[in-house]
């Protein structure tokens, strides 16, 4: 069993890191451990458990701002926001369905470290677009902060964004300030029925290019749709292409009616209202419609090319299953387990159109061998290495989690 160091405040966190820095020890930075298997497999090392840095320290609904200790469970934050008819607009996915564990266990620090987003990424952005400020400890054992509690802020470098999506390799975050937004009155979904992947992406592109402020654009191929808990989707007997509209009541009805007219050429349609709509988007968000237990890739690509990428991969690897989000720009792709996770094929297809692929789920041995994150061009990789060396010169935090040897 590795050592677990569990600081109860910021000072202790700093002391722990300073100790590791001085002693040339490495630390695995952990919130609740819900995303422990995301990233390259780490060697065994002492764990810096930040789950005690928990609690919302500032929440002003009228100012649309919330500050919490990095170890605060996301579940608590979402409950609090929901009580005030607000939400995290970037719709962070819950990774329990994909990685195992209990729903809602993740911490806000983990969410930021992995730059989690959901279907609303297309209109609202990702975690990186909603972080206003951070406090943390760098690999030097020194405190630093960045940003503030207001949305409009260009004072100094946006270190908060740099920390977001750095998988805990640049700093141990202790406090996070987020922009929060009101929950719209209504959310409805238009379903287009029976489209193949290519046609679906065309339809989604048309909806994305409309003025209807759509907030979800996904395509669920036939076999996956049949697994839905939403009866309309499950019983449709075909693929469903989903377009979500949110806003004040009259507006949603109007926009949905317009979309129906504009997309009439794509054939049969159905509507999902509040509860059913929410159910489907949660399934899409959490990737719960794909076969579990397989290897899972997350592809971020030029949206219009989504179907082409999948075709290329499916031509070579048997048993590929997919769900498309972000109008084709996000592809969740599962495949039967193989030693190399098909990484060369997957990445070559992605490189053809522009984008990157992350191996989200695979055995520890595979995640040790196969680059989990998309290999970068040399100048970018070199620059990233220099940033890491500047903020964590001894390589204290999560060594090797993103890139071998870093």
């Amino acid at each position: 069993m590795p050592d677990i160091i569990k600081p109860t405040d910021v000072d202790q966190t700093r002391e722990a890191v300073a100790w590791a820095f001085a002693e040339n020890k490495t630390l695995e930075v952990r919130g609740s451990g819900s995303k422990i298997s995301l990233g390259r497999t780490l060697a065994e090392m002492p764990v810096l458990d930040l789950s005690a840095l928990s609690g919302v320290t500032l929440y002003e609904p009228g100012e649309l701002v919330l500050t919490a200790g990095a170890g605060t469970p996301l579940r608590d934050i979402q409950k609090l926001l929901s009580e005030n008819a607000q939400r995290l607009a970037f719709e962070p996915m819950d990774m329990a369905a994909v990685l195992g564990g209990d729903k809602g266990d993740g911490t806000v620090g983990g969410m930021i470290a992995c730059n989690i987003a959901g279907p609303r990424r297309i209109s609202a952005g990702a975690a990186r677009d909603h972080i206003l400020g951070v406090k943390g400890i760098s690999g030097r054992g020194e405190s630093f902060k960045s940003g503030g509690r207001v949305v409009k802020n260009v004072t100094g470098y946006d270190m908060s964004k740099l920390m977001t999506g750095s998988y805990g390799t640049l700093g141990a975050l202790t406090e996070i300030t987020l922009k929060v937004l009101p929950r719209p009155e209504k959310a409805w979904t238009l379903l287009l029925l029976g489209l193949d992947d290519t046609a679906a992406i065309k339809a989604l592109a048309q909806a994305a290019g409309s003025s209807h402020e759509v907030s979800g654009l996904a395509h669920v191929p036939q076999g996956r749709a049949a697994r839905s808990g939403v009866s309309y989707v499950r019983d449709a007997g075909c693929a469903v292409t989903a377009i979500r509209v949110e806003g004040p009541g009259p507006s949603v009805e109007h926009r949905l009616a317009s979309l129906r007219r504009e997309l009439a050429a794509f054939g049969d349609m159905e509507e999902l209202h509040s509860h059913n709509s929410a159910g489907l988007w949660q399934e899409i968000r959490d990737v719960s419609l794909l076969t579990q237990g397989t290897q899972l890739w997350r592809l971020s690509v030029t949206p219009s090319e989504g179907a082409r990428v999948v075709n290329e991969i499916a031509n070579v690897i048997a048993g590929v299953e997919t769900v498309y989000d972000w109008a084709g720009g996000l592809i969740w792709l599962s495949l039967p387990a193989q030693d190399d996770a098909g990484h060369e094929i997957v990445r070559a297809s992605v490189n053809n159109v522009g984008g990157h692929a992350t191996l989200i789920r695979a055995d520890a041995t595979v995640r040790r061998k196969v680059p989990v994150f998309h290999p970068q061009a040399k100048p970018v990789a070199d620059l990233s290495r220099r940033i890491k060396e500047g903020l964590d010169p001894h390589g204290v935090f999560n060594p090797g989690r993103m890139v071998d040897g870093l």
Partner: protein, 495 residues
């Protein structure tokens, strides 16, 4: 304003540098003539001027890369420049450096409606992007007031904002990718047409980095379909407090307007005198709220906001009934800077952000300071996101008045920080607020930011004298200090 002392050794090599630059950029792209150079002496913060050794206007990425490598070798500093509209002295030249102007990078490279994005060179103006796609009904959302002139490269470097950013996000939220050249000549792509970039968010740290990290040579931005309709409300309030209350009610009700701008009495009077927009003159604060979307939504929300405004004590509410009227409502706000400028030989535009609910206190304190300094102030406010632009009126010809104005400005910005806000919402730190950085950040905070700078530009050659009050040498920042006692494991719960 103190700039780093020029390096005499570099100044002495000016001829050699110019000869070498001319090899890289043939023809008229290297400017050395005193008169022509005077164009590049300052930016939108006209109180400061400095003459660079030369200005270079490359046309290709390869030229940019070679220029930077050359300058790195010689130790010559480089100040990237877009359109030179920075209000914080971001593109103010340095004496022992060159200005690298991106003016010739002015092409729209690709319009991709299928992926709702546009690829442009950095010298294309902000409005130029919208103009390139408006025939198809699309637009680029972030809209700084300087949008006719400012370049998209400068927007990325400053993370520019605008009226529409309340609903549609800042530059940072609308840029998908860039091509970037580092001081060592490395050319790289960050992001692309896909929505998120892999690895560290280098695009995120670059946006708003004020030309200190690298030279942007291409930008991919997201475009949006224009809303079906837009209508605006012009609302007069008897007090600043009641206007502030109205802003809060709108936001609390879950309404995020396309734009929500406030002006105080003095700004209203100036704007009205300048462009006769029909602003009420018997009010203390004016709010312009724009709602956009389908007509049913807009009409519904206009009625909602109007109701809230009246509940907050608004006496004077007008809703635009035509596109022409909507534009008239905005005309005064959009011309607020020049309108105020007309009342005084000079004006100084401040740019702090505060938590919205602190507005009444902050305006009261500004009024007190105004009295104290004997300088008038007009306030223009991006009310929805708390970004305040006090415009201080002064006369630079009166000895000491510029200094007094700057002192007053600093007091305002410190006040913004004191109430939980920040020094700059969209104009950047530049040289202007450089020496105030310690009101927000301690030594360690700034050192960590500079360590990021070192990863991009280890010799501190790009845009020196900006953002950081003291630019530490990277060797010093990289040094590893271990303090006594750290070797002992601290007293922390362990399992």
């Amino acid at each position: 304003m103190k700039m780093p002392a020029p390096d005499e050794a570099v100044l002495a090599r000016r001829d050699e540098l110019i000869t070498a630059l001319r090899v890289i950029v043939p023809g008229e792209g290297v400017i050395t003539d005193d008169l022509e150079l005077s164009v590049y002496e300052s930016d939108g913060l006209t109180a400061y001027r400095q003459r660079p050794m030369a200005a270079v206007l490359p046309e290709t990425v390869d030229q940019v890369s070679r220029i930077l490598r050359l300058c790195a070798q010689i130790g010559c500093k480089v100040v990237p420049r877009g359109a030179g509209t920075s209000l914080s002295g971001g593109s103010l030249p340095v004496v022992d450096g060159i200005v690298l102007g991106l003016g010739k990078f002015n092409k729209v490279l690709e319009i991709d409606y299928d992926n709702r994005c546009v690829v442009v060179q950095p010298g294309v103006t902000n409005l130029g992007i919208t103009n390139a796609v408006s025939a198809e009904g699309f637009y680029y959302a972030p809209d700084p007031s300087s949008q006719i002139a400012c370049s998209i490269g400068g927007n990325v470097a400053e993370n520019a904002g605008g009226v529409h950013c309340l609903k549609y996000g800042l530059t940072a939220n609308n840029v998908l990718g860039v091509e970037l050249v580092l001081m060592n000549g490395d050319v790289m792509r960050l992001g692309g047409k896909h929505l998120d970039s892999e690895g560290y968010d280098l695009l995120g740290i670059l946006t708003g980095s004020e030309g200190l990290l690298g030279v942007i040579t291409e930008v991919t931005v997201r475009i949006l379909k224009s809303p079906e309709t837009a209508r605006a409300l012009l609302i007069g309030f008897p007090t600043v407090e009641s206007a502030g209350e109205c802003v809060a009610s709108v936001i609390n009700a879950g309404i995020i307007p396309g734009g929500m701008e406030m002006m105080d009495k003095y700004a209203i009077e100036a704007a009205e005198a300048f462009c006769h927009a029909g602003y009420p003159l018997d009010v203390e604060a004016l709010l312009i709220v724009e709602l956009d979307g389908p007509e049913v939504e807009v009409d519904y929300l206009i009625a909602e906001v109007e109701r809230m405004a009246r509940e907050c004590g608004a006496e004077n509410v007008r809703a635009s009934t035509s596109e022409e009227e909507r534009m008239t409502f905005w005309a005064g706000r959009k011309a607020a800077f020049p309108a105020v400028g007309r009342l005084s030989p000079d004006y100084y535009c401040m740019d702090g952000t505060i938590p919205r609910n602190k507005l009444p206190i902050v305006l009261r304190r500004i009024a007190e300071l105004s009295e104290h300094y004997g300088l008038r102030v007009a306030n223009v406010f991006h009310a929805g996101d708390g970004n305040l632009h006090p415009l201080i009126l002064y006369d630079a010809n009166n000895p000491g008045e510029l200094e007094k104005t700057e002192e007053f400005g600093s007091e305002i910005l410190k006040l913004c920080v004191e109430v939980g806000g920040v020094l700059t919402g969209e104009h950047g730190v530049g040289v202007e607020k450089r020496d105030l950085m310690d009101t927000m950040f301690d030594e360690d905070d700034l050192k960590h930011q500079q360590r990021v700078k070192c990863a991009f530009d280890p010799d501190g050659a790009l845009n020196p004298g900006k953002v950081f009050p003291v630019l530490h040498r990277c060797a010093e920042l990289g040094r590893v200090h271990v303090h006594k006692g750290q070797h002992r494991f601290p007293d922390i719960p362990r399992f």
